[in-house]
């Protein structure tokens, strides 16, 4: 059983939902990233999505794009991101780390080299935003062979045939994009998301996470009623953006505690 699967099983046994914060590696500064990861875990993260900085993050809104830009000022590329995961793993062997990013940095490293390096670093899953399942069959197979999960997005516009295609290629969990738009866009229509998640659930036993529009604890609470995992990205990154070096860890802890409380309620 993969680390991601174990976490979901344990949560299910306790009737709890997964809280998955997203941060961009190297934001606000590469020296902080590993400490932020530990802070997230200490304050209730069940898994972490770690963004690979990219110069052209087309599916992200301005908030996460700025995070990439801040990280790229310090030349945080994929190999540095993997080093950070390795360092995190020295003291945390339990919390799954999912890398989220775009195809080009992975292709620049070479898919095989990346798979090996990610496995060695202790990565559990990979979500490549601009790799639809049709374009990455070999990549999924090699991730799977190395014991890593391939996470895919499902969107409000994905039709039935596509949902079938994607649930058959995915492992770990499915990531439902709660709105039409980029990360951190407008408010989500919770009822609509709920109906869609139910539809997807009828086709798969994989856990279903919801993200792209979870702006606050109140939304997180509503989504936790029907989803297996709540992904909080832009809200987390805004908090990092608005913090000083002094209050960074404090602000992150506070947001995490609010979210944890809301989804456990």
């Amino acid at each position: 059983m993969s680390r991601i699967q174990s976490v979901f099983s344990a949560l299910k046994a306790n009737h709890k939902k997964a809280l998955i914060p997203y941060i961009t590696a190297g934001d606000p500064h590469p020296n902080h990233t590993v400490a932020i990861l530990h802070t997230l875990v200490k304050n209730g993260a069940d898994m972490i999505e770690l963004g690979i900085p990219f110069s052209d993050p087309m599916a992200d809104g301005p908030v996460i794009q700025r995070a990439s830009e801040r990280a790229l000022v310090h030349k945080v590329g994929l190999s540095k991101v993997l080093q950070m995961v390795k360092e995190f793993r020295q003291t945390d062997t339990q919390t799954p780390i999912i890398l989220m990013g775009y195809a080009n940095p992975i292709e620049a490293m070479g898919a095989d080299k990346f798979t090996q390096a990610a496995k060695d670093a202790g990565v559990d899953g990979v979500l490549t935003v601009d790799y639809p399942p049709e374009e990455c069959k070999e990549f999924i197979a090699s991730l799977r062979a190395a014991g890593m999960d391939s996470i895919f997005l499902l969107s409000p516009t994905s039709d039935v045939a596509r949902v079938d295609l994607i649930v058959n290629q995915a492992s770990g969990f499915l990531y439902y994009v709660s709105l039409k738009g980029v990360t951190g866009a407008a408010n989500m229509d919770v009822a609509q998301v709920k109906a869609r998640v139910a539809e997807i659930r009828s086709k798969t036993n994989l856990p279903i996470g919801v993200g792209f529009g979870v702006k606050d604890a109140a939304t997180a609470k509503l989504v936790a009623e029907f989803a297996d995992a709540i992904v909080v990205g832009s809200r987390m990154v805004v908090t990092i953006e608005n913090s000083t070096e002094e209050n960074l860890m404090h602000n992150i802890s506070q947001l995490m505690q609010e979210l944890r409380l809301a989804i456990d309620a």
């Binding site: 990219f54 052209d56 599916a59 292709e107 620049a108 601009d130 639809p132 969107s155 039409k180 738009g181």
Partner: protein, 415 residues
């Protein structure tokens, strides 16, 4: 001249059957494809289905042809630049006058096609990205004519460099959104337009201006631009009784080049030469010539192609005097034509393009766009090595009125 026989020998398989690219998912060999977030997949599928439905529909094609004739002023003439050819010394240079189109460049051929498709699909709003502003103007123009709402994304650096085109778009009723992210140029405008599209997918048609992006864009834009090459074949036959020895066009994303190359791919013994922007010089790294530089293959803006990037796979900044060529990638079909050796790709510097610009102005009374001046500069080099009865056809993709501020600034002249 390169040995044409060797070329065709190495491509025997390619040349046995008619050229038929891309495949059903938009692949040109390893290039092209559909590399987008899941949120865009359905929209692209809808577009692909509609385009398949209309690309051979007689009524759609008739409407398109009517606009090309009566609104754009096609066919654009081919002109024998005799005085310039004599000055250069060597081959005869002919110019395909896309600069004479309504709005002053080839871009309108494509925007009309896509806007007519948008109408058919019931989308009341069109968006576009633009670098130099030519594609933005061409989109705003057809949007005005068809009564569509129009939003154009343009890097804030380009907004500053291309003020007259920004004003033209506004006159035509378009909203111009300056993009402040990344390098604040064409690639960032494209990112921003994609973000708009994914958010407003139900009522919005994204009119991409070049032969890049996810399938079906590279194919569709090529098809709409192919009118350039189709006319050229007929016109050259009428004018000189044969086809040219070489066809030369500038390549940024590559739409004007693809448009004139495509109908020539299966015509033997016609060299196809794409001219990229070498900027300050290939050796300086400050250029926009991924094919000439043999840049690594990567994924950007929905397709796989040759891409200027650093070791971490981040896209690097490009340089060219011409905003329309200032793009780190290149259409996937050009990447394919390079690999199968059906087309050759070369680059000329800012300075070489400027020299050709002035030379054509003074000798022929034609002010070419800085983009097209790259093709002219290379044609000049080639012509010198060729015989007087050999013929080069250059795609003069746009007129240079939009560039007068840039040119004046280089000469330290305040207008």
């Amino acid at each position: 001249m390169q040995d044409v026989n060797n070329q065709s020998l190495s491509n025997q398989d390619q040349q046995k059957k008619p050229y038929d690219m891309p495949d059903a998912r938009g692949h040109f060999g390893q290039f092209g494809g559909i590399f987008v977030a899941e949120t865009l997949v359905e929209a692209l599928e809808e577009l692909r289905v509609m385009y398949e439905k209309y690309r051979h529909d007689p009524q759609f094609l008739a409407e398109y042809a009517y606009d090309l004739k009566h609104f754009v002023g096609r066919p654009s003439p081919i002109y024998h630049a005799e005085r310039w050819s004599n000055k250069v010394g060597g081959a005869q240079i002919y110019l395909k006058r896309e600069d004479l189109n309504h709005t002053g460049a080839h871009k309108i051929n494509n925007t009309i096609g896509q806007a007519l498709l948008a109408k058919r699909m019931g989308k009341p709003r069109v968006i576009a990205e633009t670098g130099a502003g030519q594609h933005g103007v061409a989109t705003a123009t057809i949007a005005a004519r068809l009564g569509l709402e129009c939003v154009v994304y343009m890097g804030s650096e380009d907004v500053k460099r291309q003020a007259p085109n920004v004003f033209r778009m506004k006159l035509l009723g378009a909203t111009v959104v300056p993009v402040e992210s990344g390098s604040k140029t064409l690639k960032d405008a494209l990112n921003e337009a994609m973000r708009d599209w994914v958010t407003n997918i139900s009522n919005t048609f994204y009119i991409i201006g070049t032969v890049a992006g996810p399938h079906p864009y590279p194919m569709m834009v090529r098809d709409f631009q192919a009118v350039i090459g189709i006319e050229s074949k007929q016109q050259m036959q009428e004018m000189i009784g044969r086809q040219p020895d070489a066809v030369v066009a500038c390549v940024g994303g590559g739409s004007n080049a693809m448009g004139i190359f495509y109908p020539y791919i299966d015509v033997p013994n016609v060299r196809l030469v794409g001219v990229e922007a070498a900027g300050h010089g290939m050796e300086t790294g400050m250029h926009a010539a991924p094919l000439t530089a043999n840049s690594p293959i990567g994924v950007l803006h929905g397709n796989r192609t040759y891409l200027m990037q650093d070791a971490d796979g981040n896209i690097t900044e490009t340089h060219s005097i011409s905003a329309g060529l200032d793009y780190p990638g290149v259409g996937p079909e050009h990447a394919w034509l390079k690999d199968i050796k059906r087309a050759e790709y070369v680059a000329v510097t800012d300075d070489e393009a400027m020299a050709a610009f002035h030379s054509l102005c003074r000798t022929e009374g034609i002010i070419p766009a800085l983009e097209s001046s790259h093709a002219l500069a290379y044609a000049e080099k080639m012509a010198k090595t060729m015989l007087k009865d050999e013929v080069i056809l250059v795609n003069l993709s746009g007129r240079g009125d939009k560039d007068i501020n840039t040119v004046a600034k280089l000469a330290n002249i305040t207008l």
